[in-house]
Amino acid sequence: MSTNGSKPKLALYWAASCGGCEIAVLGIGDKILKVDEVFDIVLWPVAMDFKLHSIEAMEDKSIDVCLFNGAVRTSEQEYMARLLRAKSKVMVAFGSCAHEGCIPGLANVTTREEIFQSSYDDPTTVDNPNGVRPQLETETDEGTLYLPMFYDTVRTLDQVVDVEYTIPGCPPESDRIWEALTAIIEGNLPEPGTVIGEKSTVCDVCPRVRTDKTIKEFKRTWEIEPDPEICLLEQGIICCGIATRAGCGALCPQVGSPCIGCYGPAEGVTDFGARMISALASVIDSDDPEEIDRIIQEGIPDPIGQFYRFGLAHSRLRRTAMPGANGHQPAEEEVTA
C-alpha cells in the first residue's frame, strides 16, 4: 500500500456533517497513536492544521485512503469530494451522512429557497430590511469574497463520485472504526463496493424477547412505558431495528428507546422506507381496509421522518416533490410549513 517505502497517506475530511464521526474516530483512544505510527495523516481539519492548498498540490492517487464523512450539499463540498477522489486510491464513504445523507439529508423535504426564506427573509428577529441574501460573490471595499453554491437537494458521496467502501453508522461505533482501520492497515479489505459491517438487522443482536407481533395500534414513545425485556415493536412502538443494519450492538433498545435506523439499511435492502413498509405490513393485525387506514394514520403521522430519518437522500425517490417541478403541484400535505 505504501509508495516508495514511505508511510501510506490517510486523509479524513468532513462535508455536510456534524463532527460526530470525528469524535467517534477519537473514541479509539490511544489507538490514535497506532494510526499515527502507520499512516501519514495529510488532512483532518477537526484535529490537524493541514490546509487545502497542500491537498491541491498533491499528485493524483497519492493519498492511499480517504475517509470522507458528510453529505454533499454545496459546491465546495462537491469540489472537495471530486478533489479527494482524484487524489485518493481508495475513497470510503464514512458514516451515515456520506453513505445515505443522514439527518442533513432530511433537508430533501424542502428547498434552498425555503431554507433561505426561513433564515434570511423572516421580517422579525432578523433585521434585514434590504433582503440581503448570501451571495456567491460579494464585492467588498478590499476585494471579492466567495461563498459556495447551496444546493436544493442533498447528495450522498456515491451520487457525486465513485466510492470503494462504505462504513455505516451515525456515527460508526469506535470499535467498528478500529476494525475497519485494522483491515486497511493489514491489507485485509473486502471487495470494492462493499459496505464494511454486519449483514443482518439490529433485531438479530437485540437482547429483547420476541414472540408474536400483532399490532392493533402503534404507540408514540411518550404514550407508554414499555416493558424493558420485551421487543418494542411488539409493544406497539415503531422500532426501526427491523430494517436497520446491525453493528451498534442494539444500544438504543437497551436504554429503553427504539432504534431510529442510524446504521442504514441491512444488507440487500436498497430503500429503507420500503423495507419498513414491508415489515410493518406484516405485523399490523387487521384485514379491514378502514381499520388498517386508521391504524396507519394514527400511528404514523410522519412517514418521512419515521421511515426515512437517515436514508432519505439515498432512498429510491431521494427527496420530496419540489414545488412547481414538472409543471404540477405536489399533493397537498403537511410536508413543509
Binding site: 456534524c18 460526530g20 487545502l52 439527518i103 422579525t124 411518550w222 428507546s257
Partner: protein, 491 residues
C-alpha cells in the same frame, strides 16, 4: 489588494475560511471569517414528530449532541406541559455535567490546547492532539484519554450511545440508573475532579508561567470589550442546566436578566452577503457593525462570558479558581479572548464537582424516572448552556405532537460577530507591513477564533426567529371581532 486565504480553518467543529486582504503597504485592510454552510434544521424539522427532536437535533453537532438532546428534552417537557419527577431532573443534570466535562476536555486538549502546548507556530504537522500526546508524555496523555474514555463510557451508560444519545422524553428519561451504576459514576466523578485540577495545573505550568503566552493573552490584538451572556441560578452562580439568562455590559454591570421564553424580545440578527451565518446582537442596543463597546449590540456567550456575567461558581474548588483567575487578570470583567481557555478550565472543574454532587445523592436512583404526558401538546421552550454558549430550543406542534414551527438559538451563533472581530483584530495586529506572512503566523490568527471553541455545525443550523404578535380587531363599539396570535411565548 492581495488576498490571503486560510482554508479550511482547523481545530474547531465545523467549516469556515478566513480571508485577509492586504493593502499596498502590506498592512491588513480587513479580514473576514466566512462560514460556507447552512443546514436548515428549523425548516426540515417541520412535519416531524416532536419526540424525534432530541434525536434529530443531536445531529446538529456531534461534539455537543448532549446539549441539543437535553435542550430538546426540556422543550418537550414544556411542549407537553409535563413536569418530570425529581430523579429524572437530577439524572439529566448529572448526565449534562459529565458531558460538559468531557466536551471541555476535548476542546482544551485536542482543539484549542495544541497551540499552547506545541506553540502557535510549531510545524503544522505537530500542532495537534498527537503532537500533544508525544510532547507531554504517556503519563499525562493517559490521563486525558482516560477522562474522555470515562466520560463517553458514562454518557453511553445513561444515554445509550457515546455520541448521539437516545434517552430524553417529555416527562423524563427512557431509563434510570441502578445503585451500582451510581457508585461507578460517583467514583469516576471524583477522579474527574482530580483531572480537572491537574488540567488547571498544566495550564499554569505551560501557559501562565510562559511570559510569551501571557503576553499573547493580554495582547490588545486579542481583546474585545463587549457585552456578555450566560445562564445563572437563583444566586447568580453559573449553572449549565437551568436558570435565567443574564447579560452584563462591558463594565460588568447587569444589563438584562430574563427567562428563556422571552429571548425574542432581547435578540435580533444581522445578515451579511458574505457568510451563510447570521450575526445576533442585542435588540435594545442595535447593530452598529463589527465593533466593540457599550454602544454596540455585539455580545459574547462563551465560558468567559458565563464567568463574567455571574457572581461566582456554585462549587468550592471552582469558586477558588474563579477568584484566582480574576485576581490574576485584574478583576471582572475580563475581555481577553484567550483567557476563555482558562475560564473553560474553571468550568471543567465546576462540571466535575457538580457531577459528584449529584452522583452522591442517594435519591438519584429512586424512580420513577418519567411521567407520561396527559395534556395536548402546544408550544414549549427548553434552554441550557451549551459549552459554547446559551442554547434555546423552541417548538410548536399540532395536537398530535407533529411539529409546526421550530426556532433554535444555538451556542456558537451568539458569538459569530465577536469571532469575526477577533479574527480581524488579530490579523491586523499580527500582520504588519514588511512582516513575512508564514503559516505559523496565520495559525496564531486562527487562535483568535479557537478560543471560542466554535461549533459551526451548531451555528449553521439556521435561525429564522419569529416575532411574537397579537392583534385584536374591534368594532367601533369596542366589541372584539377577531383575535390573531402568532408565536406567543407560553404564558
Amino acid at each position: 489588494m492581495k488576498r490571503i486565504s486560510i482554508d479550511p480553518i482547523t481545530r474547531l467543529e465545523g467549516h469556515g475560511k478566513i480571508e485577509i486582504f492586504l493593502n499596498e503597504e502590506g498592512d491588513v485592510a480587513n479580514a473576514y471569517l466566512q462560514i460556507p454552510e447552512l443546514r436548515g434544521f428549523e425548516r426540515f424539522c417541520v412535519g416531524r414528530l416532536a419526540e424525534d427532536m432530541p434525536n434529530l437535533t443531536n445531529r446538529i453537532c456531534g461534539v455537543c449532541p448532549e446539549a441539543h438532546h437535553i435542550a430538546a428534552t426540556k422543550a418537550l417537557d414544556a411542549l407537553f406541559h409535563v413536569d418530570p419527577p425529581p430523579a429524572a431532573k437530577k439524572l439529566r443534570e448529572m448526565f449534562y455535567s459529565v458531558f460538559f466535562a468531557t466536551d471541555h476536555t476535548t476542546h482544551f486538549y485536542a482543539l484549542g490546547g495544541p497551540d499552547f502546548v506545541m506553540g502557535p507556530d510549531a510545524p503544522a504537522a505537530e500542532r495537534n492532539i498527537v503532537g500533544v500526546i508525544k510532547k507531554v508524555g504517556m503519563d499525562v496523555s493517559a490521563k486525558v484519554l482516560k477522562m474522555r474514555h470515562d466520560g463517553h463510557h458514562l454518557l453511553k451508560m445513561m444515554g445509550g450511545r457515546p455520541v448521539h444519545p437516545n434517552w430524553g422524553l417529555p416527562g423524563g428519561v427512557s431509563r434510570g440508573i441502578t445503585e451500582e451504576q451510581r457508585q461507578e459514576i460517583e467514583r469516576l466523578g471524583r477522579e474527574a475532579i482530580e483531572f480537572a485540577r491537574f488540567s488547571i495545573q498544566l495550564f499554569n505550568d505551560v501557559v501562565l508561567k510562559n511570559s510569551a503566552y501571557v503576553d499573547l493573552i493580554v495582547n490588545d490584538a486579542f481583546t474585545h470589550k463587549t457585552y456578555n451572556m450566560g445562564t445563572v441560578d437563583a444566586n447568580n452562580k453559573v449553572n449549565f442546566y437551568d436558570g435565567m439568562i443574564r447579560i452584563t455590559d462591558p463594565e460588568g454591570v447587569e444589563f438584562a436578566k430574563y427567562h428563556a421564553k422571552d429571548y425574542q424580545k432581547h435578540i435580533a440578527e444581522h445578515v451579511e452577503p458574505w457568510s451563510y451565518l447570521k450575526f445576533p446582537y442585542l435588540k435594545d442596543i442595535g447593530w452598529k457593525g463589527f465593533v466593540d463597546g457599550v454602544d454596540s449590540g455585539v455580545y459574547k456567550a462563551t465560558p468567559l462570558s458565563r464567568l463574567n456575567t455571574s457572581d461566582g461558581m456554585a462549587t468550592p474548588l471552582a469558586q477558588e479558581e474563579y477568584e484566582r483567575m480574576y485576581d490574576t487578570l485584574g478583576g471582572k470583567p475580563v475581555h481577553h479572548t484567550l483567557a476563555t481557555h482558562w475560564a473553560r478550565l474553571v468550568e471543567l472543574l465546576y462540571a466535575t464537582e457538580r457531577w459528584v454532587e449529584l452522583a452522591s445523592d442517594p435519591d438519584i436512583v429512586e424512580g420513577p424516572f418519567r411521567v407520561l404526558p396527559t395534556e395536548t401538546p402546544t408550544e414549549g421552550i427548553g434552554q441550557v448552556e451549551a459549552p459554547r454558549g446559551t442554547l434555546i430550543h423552541h417548538y410548536k406542534s399540532d395536537e398530535r405532537g407533529v411539529l409546526t414551527h421550530i426556532n433554535l438559538v444555538v451556542g456558537t451563533t451568539n458569538n459569530t460577530a465577536a469571532m469575526n472581530m477577533s479574527v480581524r483584530k488579530a490579523a491586523m495586529g499580527l500582520i504588519k507591513k514588511g512582516e513575512v506572512v508564514t503559516e505559523g503566523l496565520l495559525n496564531t490568527i486562527e487562535m483568535a477564533y479557537r478560543a471560542y471553541d466554535p461549533c459551526m455545525s451548531c451555528a449553521t443550523h439556521s435561525l429564522p426567529g419569529q416575532m411574537p404578535l397579537e392583534v385584536t380587531i374591534r368594532a367601533a363599539d369596542g366589541e372584539v371581532l377577531h383575535q390573531l396570535e402568532q408565536f406567543l411565548p407560553e404564558r
